[in-house]
Structures are given as structure tokens and as C-alpha cells.
Symmetry: C2
Subunit: 227 residues, 2 copies
Amino acid sequence: MLRAVFFDIDNTLYDSTTLARMARLNSIRAMIDAGLEGEEEELYARLQRVIARFGSNYPKHYDELLKDLRVPWSPKIVAAGVVAYERTKFGYLVPFPGVIPTLLELKAKYRLGVISNGIAVKQWEKLINLGVHHFFECVITSEEVGCEKPEAEIFHTAMQALGVEPEESVMVGDCPRTDAEGARRVGMKTVLVRLRGGEEGQAQEADAVVHDFRELPETLRRIESVV
Amino acid sequence: MLRAVFFDIDNTLYDSTTLARMARLNSIRAMIDAGLEGEEEELYARLQRVIARFGSNYPKHYDELLKDLRVPWSPKIVAAGVVAYERTKFGYLVPFPGVIPTLLELKAKYRLGVISNGIAVKQWEKLINLGVHHFFECVITSEEVGCEKPEAEIFHTAMQALGVEPEESVMVGDCPRTDAEGARRVGMKTVLVRLRGGEEGQAQEADAVVHDFRELPETLRRIESVV
């Protein structure tokens, strides 16, 4: 019998890919408005490279972009990028359609948790902005556990927190490798979410694939009937 | 003849006192909602003490509050405080009534600048959120100059940036000591803004006091007629 459902956050509960793309694009536009010279597309590509080099949680991407462009440091340009990013971020930090009613429905039947790679406070900020921070009995982040999905330990830590066994647990996430394959290797059931109509490859790693969050209750019932 | 008008930012262009109070109060309420135990007023007073101890630009006030309360660190509670602060901040980052039309009117006649104590990027973020970042020919921050108002050097740096003399310049700010007294000592004219109906003491340090930003054009004309 299924007793617990664990969720990934980014690209599972909300569209983090579009958020990042639009927030970065708007930050480039704001920096151009603040005096940065260059073409929007070229500057966007440069920013992407800076973020790839320093990691997405590095706090000074715009300072590094100016260095990369050999442009003198300008607090006006950096601040314009920061403000545009933050404003855009708030606009896109909304749950995928159906997330809230579906979580409410699932909560009546299963225990709910989160297993997420990332910095604990940052991941909690996302859950709070999404308005779902009260829905989960445990939120396990790689920062706190000290290892990342797909490593087995992070899944075991989450299951221990809820006192459930792997065969009683489902992992719901968007990533074939870290979510589906990682959870499957520890004996959990797996559901792959493909909410932005992305690529279909490697879907065989999961017990089920959903293209709409609202399919989850029925999908879990089907998985349960097989269990 | 007056040629340049320099402005302070906090409590001059917008109501930073109310912003800070409401954002901190909402952060306390959100942390209580996220599981922090205690009375709102007592926790708010504790947070104020933490901020006084670590300075308002320290990035981990909520972590320190938990330490101060001898409560185990909780990323959920910290994130709840951060999100509530940020959301409230955006709501209060609006110019005082009349700031934008008045700056537009003044810009036709004078050169405009900012002289502000604070971190350059943070102060620019405020100007950008207020929508006034294109109004000023120079923005001088204490971080970049290496000294703070009321020291003479920061005023001289600003005047040099616009190529104006002290007797051609006015400083507009809310603080009798750093804005009015500091600017007067280097020979600038001074206008004290009292936009939240605050205390009247020490107004004699300034050439004029305004209680509404829209009084500025007429006030500057009067100062000019004396010059």
C-alpha cells in the first residue's frame, strides 16, 4: 500500500525553467536600460555562461558579467539586473495548474514530503512563495543531508522522517536521472512529471509519466493497484 | 544662482521607516505561522535588538534571531521571514506623494544628484524600485567614496561630479545632522524634509523645512532669491 508521496520542487511544482529564462532575459533588458552596451541576445548568452561557470546560487552573477565583458563595475547596472530578476521571479513563482487542489486531495490519503537538491532556505523560500509550505510533513534538502539526489541516502533520510518503507513510497519529479532513476534504485515507486511538454526520452525509468499535475491521484491509484 | 539639487534617499524619496517596521513585523508574523513560538511584540522587539547588534545590512538576521531565542535553526522559519520581508518591502518601495512630478519639474531647471550613506548596489536597487534611477546625473554612495555623511568629502565628491560649487548647491534630506548640518558645513544650502510629520527639533540647521515634497520648487525659488 502506498503511504507517502515525495515531490521534487523545481520544474515539478512550478515552472523553474521559464522563470529562470524570463528573469535572466529581463535582467539583461534592465541592464541595457541602465547603460550596459551590447545586443540582448549576445549579453543573454554571456550571462548564461557566467551562471554555468559560477553556479546558479552564486550571488554576484551581474558583477561577474561586467568583468567578463571588461566593462567597469557599475552599481547602477548590477542593481538594475537584480531588481528585474527579483520582480520577474515573483511573477513566475506560481504553482503549475492543479498543484494546490491536487496536493489537497492527495493529503487526505497520503503523507506528503519534499526531496530537493539545493540550499535549504532557498528551497523553503520557493515553497513559501508557491503557498505550499504547510502541505508537507517533511522537506529534505541536499544541503541538510549532505548528499544530493540520485544518491540513496537522501531518499532514505526522507523515508525515515515519515517512518515509511520504500515500497510504500512514491517519488514524483521531472528528472529521469535524479528523481526517477535515483528513487527506483532504493526501491521506491516513481512518477515522472512532464509538465512543459518536454522531451520523452528515458520515460521507461519511471512507473508512470504525467503531463498534467491533476493526473496524479488517478496515476497513484493505478500504481497502487499494481503494488 | 542654484544649479544643482542633491537628495538623500531613505525617508526623503520614500518612507523607509514605515517600510522597515512593516516588513519586520510581517516577517515576525510569517515566522510565527511557520512554527516560531512566542508573542508577536516580544519577538519583534528581539528582532529589533538583533538588527541593532548586527547592522541593518547583515544578511542573516533571522538566523541570529533563532540563535538569540535558543531555538534550533529552521530553514522553514528563516525562509518565511525572508519571503515576508521581501514581499512587504516591494509594497512599500513607492515614492512619497509628489516625488516624481516634482523631480520632473526640478530637472528642467537644476542638475539633480543623490548623496546617500549605504551600499552602492542596495541604494541603486531602491532608486530603481522607486522608478527614479534615470532622474539623477550622479549617485554618490558612502560605500564608493569611503566616507559617510556628514563628512565633507562625500559632499565635495558629489559637487565635483556635477562641476558645481557649494553656493550653487542644495542638499535635500531628512536628517538634521547628516544631511542639513553636514551640507551646511561645506557651504551648501539645505532643505530638511519632514514628510512623515516627525519631530521638529533642530530644524534651525536648515535653510528651509518642507512637509510635502511638492513644496520643493517654490522653496528652492525662495532660497535662490536670498542667494
